[in-house]
Amino acid sequence: MSEHTESKDRSQLRQKRMIADHFERLSRAKEEGKKVVYTFVPGNLTELIGAFDMLPVLPEINALQSGMRKKSAGYIAEAEKSGHSEDVCTYVKCDIGMLRSGNIGPTGTKLPEPDLLLLSYTGCFTFMKWFELLKQEYKCPVVMLHVPYQPDGVITDEMRSYVVEQLRTEVIPAMERVTGTRVDVDKLAAHLSLSKQAEDDLVAVWESARHRPSPIDGYFGGVYYVGPIFSSFRGSHDAVMYYRELREEVEARVARKEGPMAPDGPVKEKYRLVVEGPPNWTNFNEFWQMFSREGAVVVSSTYTRVGGLYDQGFRHDPSHPLDTLADYCLGCYTNLGLPSRVDLLAKYIREYEADGFLVNSVKSCNSFSVGQLLMLRKLEEKTGVPGGFIESDLVDPRYFGKANIENRVQSYLQMLEARKARGTSADAVVSP
């Protein structure tokens, strides 16, 4: 992911290098005969892709990168000009716009065209439309993996076998056709076991936020931490190294009782928050600073769980490769029914001893946003902790109203403070 101004830790430098290498490999893919697959973050089949030696491109990550690099406004305008509605998910429009503008990736090189569109339909209906749209643009095969929803927070055998069957009868054969090779189960298992190692370390990093002060910011900082494991690197040696280093760094901070680093320096923990919903990318640092300046640290967030609920016990299991892939796809955060999402948030609020929780509701994402206002109410009832609500968007800067968001964040934090200081007020002396 893109750089931020924390004095560079080893892990960070490694992540930068990993990303650069990946795009480098992508730029050479065609000449080296490597096959390229476009796919989505939630429920991605990185290990399987790796087992076929294919290179993944993640349009969502490109879109968020475009947002951070202030390109998204132009891309979105481009897509809207070609007939896309103002109303729909801006990730999709940003991607379509980028495509129309030459498909130049985050590192400035042109992205290779896909050899396969792997449409894993996990946790969001818009994904399906997105790849239907891409299908119009490329002449490559598309394979659909329909991952059923978990309305009750349970994965049933029917769900699992439906996904496994699709992997067996659709996805793997499609990959075999594209690459001309048979699936190598041992290689897949090897990748899966590397995933597991990295996942252990990542969980330790997340849970470090139980300390006071928390050594990490589990939302703004967290999006950097989950970068490798959500994207193209899970199941790689690089990722294992990255998470080991990261864990060591975080543990050192705990020992030194240090708080997290924000773009404008270290944060002095004053409020501990849990955040629901994705961040805004177009004004990411500005957004972060609204919190860090006030001493608000995010101890846990759900956005960092869209690529897997590892802290709730899930690990990739090399001994049951297809079942584990199915469970992984089924278990992403946005694939959970709302009651389960409320339970998970309540658990975070309690376990991480949060003073408050905040919803950042993004215009783009119905999957996340629909129902958040009810979740807010239910969580307040359940935990007694006050909730706050702000609205922005992922990559459409038109929906980042700085003054409005800042107003709400400040009001919310001042409210938390006033509640702490309750009882000292000077009222009820004379009535006017």
Binding site: E86, V88, H146, E158, L338, S369, V370, E391
Partner: protein, 402 residues
Amino acid sequence: MTDPAAPIFERARALVDDYTLGAVKAWKAAHPGALAVGHMPVYTPRPLIEATGSLPVAVFGGGDSLDIIRGDSYFQSYICHIPRSTVELGLGGHLDALDGMVFPSICDVIRNLGGMWKMLFPQKYVAYLDLPQNFDKDVGGRFYTSELRRIARELAGRGARTLDADALLGAIARENERRVTLEQLDAVRRAEPWRLRATEAYVAVRAGSVMPAEEHTRLLREILAAVKLRTARPVDNVRVVLVGSFCEQPPFELIRALEKAGCDIVEDDFQLGMRMIDGPIEPCAGEDPVEALSRAFLERGRASASRYIDRNEKGADLVARVHACAADGVIFAAASFCDPALLDQPMLEAALERAGIPHTSFKFAENTGQFQVIREQAGAFSDAVKLWGPAGAPVAAQEASV
């Protein structure tokens, strides 16, 4: 001369307008102990619910006559309108007659609404019905039949009749009859649109939301007989297909505004769920009727924004339908903020353009009260066809805010 169909349409209209579900209450009073089960758009297999002795009730939001207060409080401004009015209906007690609610997979809004429903109405039965996007009988089909059986089982757990093959076969037969009658109604509209206006067809189909298939068939037959007696004559109008309103329904006045702007809507996707399966559902010899229900969806489900289209070109079905009903063009009418419809639209537009079919588009909300812009667009469309012939309509239009 008085219109022979007027009283029937009035009756049907009253059913449609009654968001307090009087008809359902009456049905329940006549069937003590039986369940009434609501279902949201687009598609829920109604025969399955009927086969358990329950009344399936299609819920389409609250239209334009309901003040939305609590409903709005749960939804951000950028979310379509139907979940607001549905929640408003629920919290206002208007849906109390329903013992449960099925939320079929169509989009993330309806999906999450299902979860909200569980939290808002913990005492009611709430089911999410995952429709497969894999159309292989042994893969998607197997999953889908397990979903159908689960729902039947859960309903039985709430006091409905246990599903048995004969009951389901009976329900399927009644559904098939309704489908045939609906098809006859559509045929009248295609052949003689001045005999049966789109607004009337709308009411005729939607009235079926609150009654068993058999009763709906009777109503439709009455309507068919009555409109044949009408003496209306052809009008100098343009023939259009309307797409995009498969879930949230446009206000009645909007459809009328389109007609007033010189458009005969000869085909539409209002209440698509009622006509989701093309042709009858035909169980094969020895086949479990649940499988037949599933197979009908897999093999003959209509193309819609909520269904993954893998084989043919996106939009091919729309082009075929335009040709089949000899339409002059297509009007896209999507609900504001409806991701499925709005993301589909550019692909469908491209297909129409390749086929040289003119089209225009606008967005609405179920409680839109101003139709001026829409009338303008539809009017420009019909003007162009009238003045310059069928090939003369505007090619592209989208309500843009730039």
